[in-house]
Symmetry: C2
Subunit: 185 residues, 2 copies
């Protein structure tokens, strides 16, 4: 189910498709998930979120700094090159979650919040002040998600590579204190 959600989102995933690909039977499905497809989707999305969070945590821990950790995470998040529908396993379902159910949307939001928190924590470990860390984490997560989106649609890995460099640039050092120097140059 998690794989189907990643490839085609919630609405496009039919019950018949799930049954034939997973090998389980109809009775089993509604015995273990009385709420039907909705409940199963929430559980699957949460599981995907946990997998992604684990990968992100490992990548950040293994890297010498946050930027390098994000770079490594981008490779992992993209998935094996053999997949034709690579990318973030949460984004497709997340984008349609507002019209599906508030609960599914909440699950998706929590997944992204966790990723953002992991990046922010690593930035603070790098010595970033609290405010800058959470703000930069939000922006870097957006950069990552956007790159995975563009990569899936275009089928080209260049978006991933460009996002990596941008992430390294953004996370090279905390922004200067005392107002943004960038203004109108």
């Amino acid at each position: 189910m998690a794989r189907l959600l990643r490839d085609q989102g919630y609405t496009a995933t039919t019950r018949a498709q799930l049954l034939v690909e997973s090998g389980v039977s109809n009775g089993s499905l509604y015995h273990h998930f009385p709420g039907g497809m909705g409940e199963l989707a929430e559980a699957a999305l949460e599981a995907s979120g946990a997998v992604v969070a684990h990968a992100l945590r490992e990548a950040l821990n293994a890297a010498p700094n946050t930027g390098e950790g994000v770079v490594r995470f981008l490779d992992i998040a993209w998935g094996p090159a053999t997949e034709q529908c690579a990318g973030c396993p949460i984004a497709p379902t997340a984008l349609e979650s507002p019209i599906i159910s508030p609960r599914l949307r909440a699950v998706a939001a929590r997944c992204f919040d966790e990723q953002e928190a992991l990046i922010a924590a690593r930035l603070r470990a790098d010595g970033w002040p609290d405010g800058s860390a959470s703000e930069a984490a939000s922006a870097v997560l957006a950069l990552v998600e956007g790159a995975l989106l563009l990569g899936r649609v275009s089928g080209q890995l260049s978006h991933l590579a460009h996002a990596k460099r941008a992430a390294l640039a953004l996370l090279a050092r905390p922004p200067a204190e005392g107002g943004t120097r960038t203004g109108t140059f």
Copy 2:
């Protein structure tokens, strides 16, 4: 149709929903779009892409530099605050397009390519070298799309604001020469 695609993507949009919301009748639909929902979706997505591209072009032209233009575009792209499903009108359909049809996917890819080209052209007008401009444009577009995604899922505008600052930081000045080799990764 464009609004439905923005709010809920392709698969979640049913023919009945489209007819009642647009006011047109079934016969009209299949007269003007013999290809059915698929053909209509391609046309609607292309129209949305044109609208977004026009808004981006205007924002970039009216701004003193690329960074400020992207900041203004983010406000426009998010849409009016009254919308409960704001965000990029292309992304939801784009993410599921690979499993729908190659043509729909191509339309989505072309929309994003056009946006990227607009940003890159504005960067070159700012004096950026060709390679850095297209690479930065790709990253900034990813940043924008990711921020719109996170904003829709979380319902918070803070992601937009953080992405704006990150875009300004990324586009403040071209990266130093010598350290980056474009075209490889």
